[in-house]
Amino acid sequence: MSGFTPRITRRAFTIGSLLAAGTAGLPIMVKAQEGKTVALLFDSLVSPFWVTGIEIMREEAAKRGWETLEAISNFDDNRQFEQVRAMIEREVDGILIIQTDANAVIPAIREANAAGIPMVHFNRPPAESDAYSVAIQADNRAIMRETVQFLVDEAKRIGGTYKAAILIGDLGDVNAIQRRDGFFDIVDQNKDIIEVVSRISTEWNADKAFAGLTNALQANPDINFLVTSSDFLHPQIEQALKIAGKWNKRGEEGHVLFAGFDGDEGAYQRLLDGFLDACGVQNLFLEVDMAFGAFTDLWAGEKPEKLLLDPGFVITQDNLEETRDAMWGFSVWKNQQG
């Protein structure tokens, strides 16, 4: 842990300052070059998933000779709507959006449709409507099912009964709901050995996750089966488990069966150290590729499906070596190691 934290901080800062400097100069650069311009509209960069996502997008865009324009809405739907209109105003060639609310994004899609600018939703699909856009999404439920299944198998292998807790994301986020459902699909089949004693609502907020887990551990000190709906909550989980004296490696006395989701660099580190048993990975490289591919298709006049699924995969203690190269967190981790 202590090995890489300072590095990530410094790196984050460098990128941050470069980004800040870069965005100021961007409009002028855009003018100077021909080629496609794509707007990247994020609602925040709170978790490593989004940070790495935007970095991969930038690299990928550069590879294809595209320019990017970026904007962050800070969870404000109306602001994001205005940002979409501003991007239409700037006559970008495509808009990649990560909206906060699945319903509230519909008018923005309509505006883009009216302007004839393709829109692609990254990782979060919009609500159903007559407006046309393409969404890229991980098959959350399936991935989560597979991940929890591994954990259940482990539990069976070790034996005994288990008290389970799950950290649930924002209930307004389809992804969070699908992951929760995937979790219950499996544990409900195994009620004989697993009892869910705590559902912690995090609203994708680290402070709430920490407080919630601490209180859960307080109320149920015998929790020994833990799943988080996102890897960005690992630091808080680690801290809470350490305080409760339950942060132990696989095979050690008092190890909590623990699974994550996303597949970030922290997850890889914890897999490597033996604290994390399994992790459902969203294939970020694939998703970016699919998103940009969708733009190319749309420009070519094709009409891809409204929803394109990333099948993802599960990385576990058993397949760590073979599958890690496909895990985006591993490549981030590798870069950090130097």
């Binding site: 934290t5 800062f13 800040a20 800070n74 907020n205 680290a206 307080q218």
Partner: protein
């Protein structure tokens, strides 16, 4: 006769927070058998410590009839700087530096409050709140920032079975208590809050006092940030967002008046613990998380209502007293 009635009401209003606290403890104690344990009490104290520390800071400001809305933003800036720039530096050096940042940001508030006198500190600190949030977002680019293991380990450390956070909280509390009660500065804060004109007549340097309380508030906001980050390990872009509400609520709940001159840190600490007790109780009884802000809002509302009633009764009592004797 009416005077007597008012006195009784006043007594009741004064006791209201304590009665409320008792009621809360009893209700949750009945609803959850884990609620009334030493471990849980320790837990409540730990979780309320950063709010309590910041509330102590804001108590200084409220005593001068001011307000500081920017505490949450200061907290975020302080932690962001710690995470991004002070990574490799030992805690004994890094923490004082972070405290210094808090003082500097508080000084900025103080400067504007003094310079723009006649404008309510509310609007001034509302502006700095946004400027500082902007600064923090600039530093973090809305990403989550992480702190060193050495900082996080503090969040798990206990001395004599008492967590580090509670120690910090206790030290801040004791020093603040002594400063407010036993130093000339502390007593002058009360004088300024009661009547700034009279205070100036008595030779007190009113702008200096105002400036100082905002510095203290900024400093303790930074300390609160440190205590909080040592527990939660990482700060997202919502770190400290709207934390000014529970912080001000804690102080007001503890009997510190928004109109200055009345209150103190003992009540503030009590208020902070009460708020956390309610939250903790709601968690223990598995209440839906969406009810938390509602409960907090209602508590603050009632606290201010009680404060308003108390103030107006005190006024009537005071006025009546003068009148009665004038006539007698």
């Amino acid at each position: 006769m009416q005077v007597g009635e008012n006195r009784t009401t006043l007594l009741l209003l004064n006791a209201a927070p304590w009665v409320a606290f008792l009621a809360v403890v009893v209700v949750f104690g009945v609803l959850s058998d884990r609620f009334l344990t030493i471990q849980n009490f320790m837990n409540i104290l730990t979780q309320s410590s950063h709010i309590a520390i910041m509330a102590i800071g804001i108590t200084f400001v409220l005593l001068t009839a001011g307000i500081d809305l920017s505490v949450g933003a200061i907290m975020y800036v302080a932690v962001a700087v710690l995470a991004l720039f002070l990574g490799g530096i030992p805690v004994v050096i890094a923490f004082p530096l972070v405290g210094l940042i808090g003082v500097a940001l508080g000084a900025m508030n103080g400067y504007f409050v003094i310079k723009l006198r006649g404008q309510h500190p509310f609007i001034v600190t509302l502006a700095t709140l946004f400027i500082l949030r902007g600064a923090a977002i600039f530093l973090t680019d809305t990403r989550m920032v992480f702190v060193e293991e050495s900082v996080m380990s503090l969040g798990r450390t206990s001395y004599f079975g008492v967590p580090w956070a509670i120690w910090v909280f206790a030290v801040v509390f004791v020093i603040a208590w002594i400063v407010l009660r036993e130093t000339p500065f502390g007593r002058q804060i009360y004088a300024v809050g009661q009547d700034p004109t009279a205070a100036a007549k008595a030779g007190i340097n009113v702008p200096r006092i105002l400036f100082s309380v905002y510095c203290i508030c900024g400093f303790l906001a930074a300390v609160g940030g440190l205590v909080s980050i040592a527990q939660v390990a990482a700060a997202s872009s919502t770190f400290g967002f709207q934390i000014e509400f529970p912080v001000i609520a804690a102080a007001v709940l503890g009997g510190t008046s928004l109109f200055g001159g009345r209150g103190g840190v003992v009540g503030t600490v009590f208020g902070a613990v009460l708020i956390q007790t309610v939250q903790s109780g709601l968690v223990m009884t598995n209440a839906t998380p969406y009810i938390y802000p509602l409960v907090t809002a209602v508590i603050i509302f009632l606290a201010v209502l009680i404060d308003g009633l108390r103030t107006s009764i005190l006024d009537t009592l005071g006025r009546r007293k003068i009148r009665v004797e004038e006539i007698a």
